[in-house]
Point group: none
Chain length 213, copies 2
């Protein structure tokens, strides 16, 4: 009979230990040697468990310092999922379309919430007039302000896989359109904001920026 693998026990024991001792993100976890002694197993077994958790982004290890519980924002499960989802369904068109789905949903969410009244918009408008304002920053700001971290994470991944359509900095000709979007959001006019946003992004995608390069 195959015995259950020890390193899997270690994984769950670690999880219990973290909960019981109320270890919080950023806190240090006992060293590998300590854990090996405490749990009465070899250090290599401990390491197999820790490396598994590290691949998931649940812990961070820093040579010479120790092992630390990772910030939940650094969890890599979604990334790992992405590498497998996008294996077979990596039609570029689907990726772009799905990005757009998340972007418009973000605008919709912002318009429906108090975020539309934040002072962020004014400062965004000012940064827009300055030099070196990257297109991606504009969209990312919207995704962040939507308040849905999962959606933000998915969007970020799609951007990496689908080739970033928001590469490069905002050209003077684009500014009026972007300002219209900001204005519509402040007015909580989702419909207009989304229409203008789609007008902007479709030029970037279809025209390969030819119009504004």
């Amino acid at each position: 009979m195959n015995q259950p693998k020890r390193y899997l026990n270690i994984v769950s024991e670690m999880r219990d230990m973290i909960r019981e001792q109320n270890i919080r993100p950023g806190d240090r976890i006992p060293s590998e040697r300590e854990l090996a002694e405490k749990l009465a197993v070899g250090r290599s077994t401990i390491r197999e468990a820790l490396r598994s958790l590290e691949l998931l982004g649940l812990i961070e290890t820093r040579r010479g310092e120790g092992t630390f519980l990772a910030d939940p924002r650094k969890h890599r499960l979604v990334e790992l999922l992405a590498t497998f989802i996008l294996q077979d369904t990596k039609t570029l068109e689907d990726v772009r379309e799905t990005m757009c789905i998340h972007e418009t949903a973000a605008i919709q969410a912002i318009c429906a919430s108090d975020a539309s009244k934040l002072p962020v918009w004014e400062s965004l408008r000012e940064r827009l007039d300055g030099h070196e304002f990257i297109r991606e920053d504009f969209v990312r700001e919207l995704m962040v302000l939507s308040g849905n971290r999962l959606s933000l994470k998915i969007w970020f991944l799609l951007k990496q896989y689908g080739g970033n359509p928001y590469d490069g900095e905002v050209m003077p000709e684009e500014r009026p359109l972007l300002k219209n979007i900001l204005h519509a959001i402040e007015q909580q006019d989702a419909e207009t904001a989304i229409r203008d946003f789609k007008a902007w992004s479709s030029v970037l995608i279809k025209g390969e920026n030819a119009q504004w390069q």
Copy 2:
């Protein structure tokens, strides 16, 4: 300067090897000792990489036999998502919201395309009247008909992870609402379809089906 960790290299080299040599699910992977020699690293390093992949369910190891590429259906990513992240309620909220984003986007896409004229809708209406029509089938049909396979796949994963709100079969009281949705789609009236859809799903989620159980 901290060097990149070798076991991570191994992980990606393994992925490349699997693709290049066209190893398929169920096939055997070279033994740990072979891999160690071929990649010029210690066996323990190989094991750290393999154990990580095993925790994800990407490979299976059988003592005395060897290591095998796992069937994609055995991938444990979703399960891991649940065990490690589900505690945070905000995350669960994000999952539900992101599901909704994809669902409404699907309805929007259908209404804007020729799919709204397909004979599917009539047959769907008929199945709705029959017995044993599972709620999930209804939504999945919409996701499929949207034509965005990536969006469908993301939706499917979110459903597993976030607890399926569309569990159980359609109750008689729900049918009018669902028929309204179908009708609105056929009329390409996305706004009405989405409003009614949200009305339906919000009852399922918030009310925990109490109203219709």
